[in-house]
Each structure stands twice: as structure tokens, then as C-alpha cells.
């Protein structure tokens, strides 16, 4: 088991954004985290990735307790993430953006220089603009790719993807799905927050659904998507057809 959370809860004042979420993730899987907007998915990721500590509950990563460790420590231990709204370093070039991950991410550097690893990460995510383009000139989709490349060049064991596929055209969606699978095939376990059903069905091995901060279903994509509770959460209660009318 690569990640094990025990009843992780996060409160902001009186609001309980994440309520006792327990999650077990096996090495090598692609785990989907879904739920309506505002359900607490990103807050949950933030509290395991170290943006802020959980209010209560425990997090075990790679067999060790990591509850409340700051983001930079989690990164060095092998947990990388992308951001829902991609947040690059605007005044740097594309290569420098990715180099930040390559230089400071991994605790043990290989023989290759950080620059070379950054270039490889950019090739891996199929970023095909010149690498000296300033990041401020990129569009949202290109920013997602370099954010992903930055995360990959941290050489993570677990990668958290926050709505990587949103805002993509159907064609781009296919290549992004293939890309996520290739990252997994390289030995990286993935947790992906997604809204697009096609992506969830296409790549996820297991899915958890969160609503109002609470887990309402867990299982394979097909099981979960046919679960009445989940349908209700997404579409509202099913109207019972009145036969007599």
C-alpha cells in the first residue's frame, strides 16, 4: 500500500470540508477521485500533500506516518502534484519551470543533470513549443502540460492530478489519457480528480466518490457509476414514474 489515510478531516471554522475520508491506494493503480463541485476533493488532496495539515486523522505514505508534513517534505519523499488552476512560474521560461522540479524535487539525484531531466520530462508530456518560451505566453492547456512536466521531474512515486483533463478538446483528451497511462506504466501511482466520465471510465482502476466531504461510494468505475447514491449526487433524485397518470 502506497498511501493510507485514516479518517482524514479538515475543518475551516465551522465548515467541515473533508469529513473522515479513509482511502487505501495500492502501488501502480490509477485511482479516481470524483464528486460534485465543492465536495472537498481538492481540500482532501491539499491536506495529504502538505499544503495545510488535516484537522484530525492520519496519513501514511510509503508505510510511514506523514500527517501534517509540509509540501516540500512530501515532495522530497516522493509525492508530487499538479494544480487545478495550473500555477507555473510566469517570469521563467518553460525549461526553467520544469527545472525547478528537477533540481529541488528528488532527494537523490541520478547521474543526469537537472536540465537534461527537465528536457526529458517536457518530451515525455509531448510539449512541442520551444523550451525557451516564457511561461506567461502559454495558454491554459499548455500550462497544464508544463505543470505536469514539473511534477514528473520531481520523480514522484505518487502523483496527484487535479482536474488535468478539464478544458481539453476530445482529441486532446485522448492524448492526455494515453499520457497518464504512460506515467503509470513508468511505475508512478496516480490519484486523479476528474469530472469527465470518459476519462474516469478510460483510465481509472478504482474510484471513490465524495459528496459534502464524505465518502459515498468506492469501487470500480462501472460499479460506482451505477450506484444510485452516486447518480443522485450528480443528477439529483430519480423521479419515480407514476404509472397511473
Amino acid at each position: 500500500m502506497i498511501l493510507d489515510t485514516k479518517e482524514v478531516t479538515k475543518r475551516f471554522g465551522g465548515l467541515t470540508a473533508v469529513n473522515q475520508v479513509s482511502m487505501q491506494i495500492e502501488e501502480g493503480e490509477i485511482f479516481g477521485l470524483i464528486g460534485p463541485n465543492g465536495a472537498g476533493k481538492t481540500t482532501f488532496l491539499n491536506s495529504i500533500a502538505g499544503k495545510f495539515p488535516p484537522t484530525s486523522g492520519k496519513v501514511f505514505f510509503l508505510g510511514e506516518e506523514t500527517t501534517g508534513l509540509p509540501a516540500e517534505v512530501m515532495c522530497k519523499r516522493g509525492l508530487a502534484r499538479t494544480f487545478q488552476i495550473p500555477r507555473p512560474f510566469p517570469k521563467m521560461t518553460v525549461l526553467e519551470n520544469v527545472k525547478v522540479g528537477a533540481v529541488f524535487g528528488p532527494s537523490a539525484h541520478g547521474l543526469k543533470s537537472a536540465e537534461l531531466r527537465a528536457q526529458e520530462a517536457l518530451e515525455f508530456v509531448e510539449f512541442n513549443l520551444p523550451i525557451d518560451t516564457p511561461a506567461s505566453q502559454l495558454n491554459a492547456v499548455q500550462l497544464k502540460r508544463i505543470d505536469l512536466a514539473r511534477a514528473i521531474s520531481c520523480q514522484p512515486k505518487l502523483l496527484l492530478l487535479d482536474e488535468l483533463a478539464s478544458g481539453l478538446t476530445p482529441g486532446e483528451l485522448d492524448s492526455m489519457m494515453a499520457l497518464i497511462k504512460r506515467i503509470r506504466d513508468d511505475g508512478v501511482t496516480i490519484i486523479a480528480i476528474e469530472h469527465i466520465m470518459r476519462v474516469i471510465k478510460g483510465i481509472c482502476d478504482e474510484v471513490m466518490v465524495i459528496e459534502y466531504g464524505t465518502t459515498i461510494a468506492e469501487g470500480t468505475p462501472d460499479e460506482v457509476l451505477n450506484n444510485p447514491k452516486v447518480i443522485e449526487a450528480y443528477l439529483g433524485e430519480e423521479e419515480v414514474p407514476n404509472a397511473g397518470a
Binding site: 499544503k51 516540500e72 515532495c75 502534484r81 500555477r87 512560474f89 526553467e96 524535487g105 514539473r150 520531481c154
Partner: protein, 348 residues
């Protein structure tokens, strides 16, 4: 003084020289201008004593702008206590070099030694300031630095046994000479040293971390950068050089008062120079400082009926630059270089 240019003739002596220059942060053009600046006071009218003094002021401001931009231009925190740190260095150095018995103690150390004590003192306070501002972002960090600056100035004003307070103290001079020229070379050497050291730092991975923290703290942390370490280091180093420059001020002018040295308006002068020069380049402020000092001194001597006019001009220029060209002079330079390069490519 940019270091981005690449040169094809690497094997030749010239190519080796250029790549060495690039390593320490100079372009051939920047280095050439520096040599001209160093030779300037040997030619009329720049050899006039009052103009040499202007040049000294220019280099002093330029060096401050470099140390200031190291924080403002990279980790994006405006250190409003900069002048106070400089003053702290000046007073520390002045006190340790003091030989007159009216103060609490008179160690009478050599000023060449005490300027380093001043730098270390300022560096220590910079270290504390870095820790204090850690949890604060942007404007809040700036305000915190400002308060620390005001507190420092209050201390200097009130520790009258050490500093004589508002009456001011008169530290010994580096060298007893009616000539200004030796002082010009001292401050020029300090300026170049500060520039080269800081340029080497920002060109390394440490500089990459500074920029990452300044541009996006969350993504920086998610990439494994510990902001504490880099922020405190940045503040410490910047304050250290501010203190060193304060030592120069003390033993050049031979007169220190808290309000002419540590007041916030002194920080604003440096801020204006650094911003107009262009943030995040280190050398931008240097190119602006010299013409600026000449311009201001010219105004002062010709419009003496309007005291404080130079502050108005700082303000207007700052506002104009921030609105219409936030990249400053260095941004303009890089833009021009890029334009020229694409033009050359097209014509090939």
C-alpha cells in the same frame, strides 16, 4: 551586463574571456561600460572634485540598488527597512572605529575592519527580519520590514550614549585626504564585488529557488523548495551588503545622523532606482543610478528655490514606469536585444 548571450568562438582567447565575463555576470558591453566608468574621473569635466563626489554618490546608490533588487526582484518582497539596515551597519562601524572619548566606549579599531563588523551586525538583523517576515506575503512582509526599520531608527535616535542621537556622530575617515578620487575607487570596487557575488548566487540553483518562491510559493513548495531556508538566506545576504555599504558611508562622509541615513525616504530612493532600472536583473539599477544622480544634482544646483523637488521627480518617474513599463530599463534592453536578433535572423 547580461549573461544570456552565447558565443560561437569559444576556443579563441576572446571567446574564453567572454565566457569568463558571462560567468561573473557581465556582457562584453557591460564590462566595457564599467571600464569607461572607472576611467571617467581622469578626464575633464569629470575630474572636478564635485563631479567625482556625484560619481561616488552614483556608485553608492547603484550598489544599494543591486543589494535591494536581490530581495525585491527575486523573492518579490520589498524590504522597506533597507535604509535602516544600512544605517545600522554605518553606526556599528562608526562606533567600533571611534577614537573620541565622549561615547560610551572608544575601541578605535581600523575602519577597514569595522565596516565588516557593521556588515555582520546588519546581516544578523537581516536574519531576524527574514524569520519575522516568513509567514507574511507581499505587502505584509514589506510593512513588517518597514516597522523593524522604524524601530532601528528609534533605537539609534535614543541610544544617545552610543550614537549621540539626532546630534549625529562623526566617524573617522578611511583615509585622510582632501581628494575624493580614492573613495570613488573604494565604492566602485565594493559595487563590483557586491554585483558579482549576488549575480553568482542568483545564477545558481539558489537563484532558481528565489525566483520560484517569488513567483509562486505554492508551486515552489510542491516542487520541494523549503521557502524558510531561502528567504532567510536572501534577507541575510542583502542586509549584510547593506551594512557594508553603510560602513562606506560612515567613513566617507564622516558624519552620521539617523534621519539622513535611516529614514524610509532613503529606502524609497533606492527602490525607485532599482525599479526604474528593472527588477530581477541586478544591473538595471546600476545603469540608472549614475545618470539619475547627475540629473538630480543638476536640478538641485539650478533650482535651489525648490527644495525636495527631487522627491517629486522620483515619485512621478516611479508611477510612470510602474504603469507604462513595469519591466524597467533592463526589460527594455532585453526586449531590444530580442528584436535585433530576430531582425538579423530574418535578413539571413
Amino acid at each position: 551586463m547580461n549573461s544570456t548571450a552565447t558565443y560561437e568562438e569559444k576556443g579563441t582567447a576572446w571567446g574564453k574571456f567572454v565566457s569568463f565575463l558571462n560567468k561573473i555576470g557581465f556582457s562584453p558591453l557591460g564590462f566595457f561600460l564599467l571600464i569607461i566608468l572607472a576611467l571617467l574621473p581622469n578626464f575633464y569635466p569629470f575630474s572636478e572634485e564635485y563631479i567625482v563626489r556625484w560619481l561616488i554618490m552614483g556608485a553608492f546608490l547603484a550598489a544599494q540598488a543591486v543589494a535591494f533588487d536581490f530581495t525585491a526582484g527575486y523573492i518579490n518582497i520589498v524590504n522597506f527597512g533597507f535604509a535602516a539596515l544600512l544605517g545600522l551597519g554605518a553606526y556599528t562601524s562608526g562606533i567600533f572605529a571611534n577614537t573620541t572619548p565622549f561615547l560610551l566606549f572608544a575601541p578605535g579599531l581600523n575602519p577597514w575592519l569595522t565596516i565588516w563588523l557593521g556588515a555582520i551586525m546588519a546581516g544578523l538583523v537581516g536574519f531576524v527580519l527574514g524569520i519575522l517576515t516568513l509567514r507574511l506575503r507581499g505587502i505584509f512582509a514589506a510593512v513588517m520590514a518597514w516597522f523593524v526599520g522604524i524601530a532601528l531608527m528609534g533605537l539609534v535616535n535614543n541610544l544617545t550614549e552610543l550614537t549621540r542621537g539626532p546630534l549625529g556622530m562623526n566617524p573617522v575617515k578611511f583615509i585622510e585626504t582632501p581628494n575624493n578620487l580614492p573613495y570613488f575607487y573604494i565604492i566602485l570596487a565594493m559595487m563590483v564585488m557586491i554585483y558579482v557575488v549576488l549575480k553568482l548566487v542568483v545564477g545558481s540553483n539558489i537563484g532558481l529557488a528565489f525566483k520560484a518562491i517569488g513567483q509562486n510559493p505554492d508551486a515552489a513548495r510542491a516542487s520541494g523548495i523549503n521557502p524558510t531556508k531561502y528567504l532567510v538566506f536572501n534577507f541575510t545576504l542583502s542586509a549584510f551588503f547593506a551594512g557594508l555599504l553603510g560602513g562606506f558611508y560612515a567613513h566617507f562622509f564622516g558624519s552620521l545622523t539617523p534621519s539622513t541615513l535611516m529614514h524610509t525616504s532613503k529606502t524609497v530612493e533606492v527602490l525607485a532606482i532599482a525599479y526604474i532600472g528593472g527588477r530581477g536583473s541586478l544591473w538595471g539599477g546600476v545603469t540608472i543610478a549614475f545618470p539619475f544622480v547627475f540629473f538630480i544634482e543638476f536640478l538641485r544646483s539650478n533650482l535651489s528655490s525648490l527644495p525636495g523637488l527631487h522627491l517629486v521627480i522620483y515619485g512621478v518617474l516611479m508611477v510612470t514606469i510602474m504603469i507604462y513599463y513595469p519591466a524597467g530599463f533592463s526589460g527594455f534592453y532585453f526586449w531590444t536585444v530580442a528584436k535585433v536578433k530576430t531582425l538579423i535572423k530574418k535578413n539571413k
